[in-house]
Amino acid sequence: MRQAIYKVPEGKLLKVFLTAEEGKIKDVKITGDFFMYPEEKIVLLEEAVKGMELNEEALKEKLEKIIVQENLDLFGFDAGSIAKTMVMAG
């Protein structure tokens, strides 16, 4: 797994671990010192991007959709910063 670290401006430290195959996300873990409620639903964000290409805009859109759908509360990071870190790790 490759790793990327991104300090969200005015936010927390994101560490993404990612395995890509032929430009597509095979496996990913979103870690860091942020807060998200409810916590357990972080796996939904990880599942949602599996199989997707490492395209920052598309990833951001997908993550945003899940965040709204699942009514997730994020503190110290957001869909954009996760997408950015994923692409950095890819």
Binding site: K15, F17, K29, T31, D33, F35, I42, D73, F75, G76
Partner: protein, 301 residues
């Protein structure tokens, strides 16, 4: 076992009656007695919600985190009153946030060498080295409407008790969103919150003294070459009660000051001294062993 009750008293308010203690231990009340209490109080709008005040002294990281979880369950089901607990860590421990990767954050070998526990919290946030500090856990059923529903506001509300408590040492502390308390621009307390089964759990640390070198000896940093510089920066950004007071201050003095702070800041709450029941201790021990002391939970991310 009875859960949350909403009673209408007179024609002027709704009252949230949480907790009905069937075992009537340490000040537990029956529904009937409570209703009579309210009637006797008549139009007194300041109903005193009762909170257990627990001082569980020094325990392992796994036990401390397991007890937080056990209390969420017990309070959620209405078996016991909400609580405010103060405690310490023996041995010293590193706790990591729910979302952190243990392997990426903690030097496990160093921790083993130094006899330092490692545990993953139920709450988000960063890695914390628990050594010379006072830790608290506050469990509040959301139905009580005691704290704002908005997460940021509720952090601030609960941190108010700590800020008030620190005035005992002539410290003027401030809340800094999302989850820090600072004195003179430096962090003295970190806090983290989760909400589960209708119960808000906020726990946090108040530094008695701080040893940044010791802390970084146990943590991994993204860039080892920058470690020295990072330590210098962190030393400038962190402080402790003893550092601010310029003298040694006992663990118990800090606990007493914080209790006083919470009592003043939560004037509508009646805090009463209580201890853990044998069952609670046993459940926490079991959960500590099964979940927090190792394996799957600690390494899940």
């Amino acid at each position: 076992m009875i859960g949350n009750w909403k009673l209408e008293i007179g024609n002027f308010r709704l009252l949230n009656l949480h907790h009905v203690n069937c075992h009537s231990r340490g000040g537990g009340n029956s529904v009937v007695k409570r209703v009579i209490d309210f009637r006797l109080r008549g139009n007194d709008k300041t109903h005193m919600q009762r909170f257990r005040l627990l001082q569980t002294k020094f325990n392992t990281a796994a036990f401390n985190m397991a007890l937080d979880e056990v209390l969420i369950k017990k309070i959620s089901s209405g078996e016991v009153d909400p609580s405010l607990r103060f405690y310490g860590w023996k041995p010293a421990a590193v706790s990591i946030g729910y979302f952190q990767s243990l392997q990426a954050e903690v030097d496990e070998e160093k921790c083993r060498e130094r006899g330092v526990d490692i545990v993953r919290r139920q709450t988000g946030g960063g890695a914390v080295f628990h050594d010379k500090e006072v830790t608290y856990s506050m469990h509040i059923p959301l139905t009580l409407n005691l704290v704002p529903e908005k997460i940021l506001d509720s952090y601030q509300r609960i941190c108010g008790g700590i800020i008030r408590g620190l005035t005992a040492f002539n410290l003027s502390a401030q809340f800094v969103p999302l989850n820090d308390i600072i004195v003179g621009g430096k962090k003295i307390s970190g806090n983290a919150q989760t909400r589960k089964q209708g119960v808000l759990l906020q726990h946090g640390t108040i530094l008695q003294s701080v040893d940044v070198d010791k802390m970084f000896d146990l943590l991994k940093v993204p860039d080892e070459k920058m470690k020295g510089k990072l330590i210098t920066v962190i030393k400038e950004r962190v402080t402790s009660i003893e550092q601010q007071a310029g003298k040694a201050i006992e663990f118990q003095s800090i606990v007493d000051a914080l209790i006083d702070g919470f009592k003043k800041d939560f004037a509508a709450v009646e805090f009463y001294d209580d201890g853990l029941s044998e069952e609670e201790t046993e459940l926490a021990r079991k959960l500590a062993e099964e979940k927090y002391a190792g394996g799957q939970w600690n390494y899940q991310r």
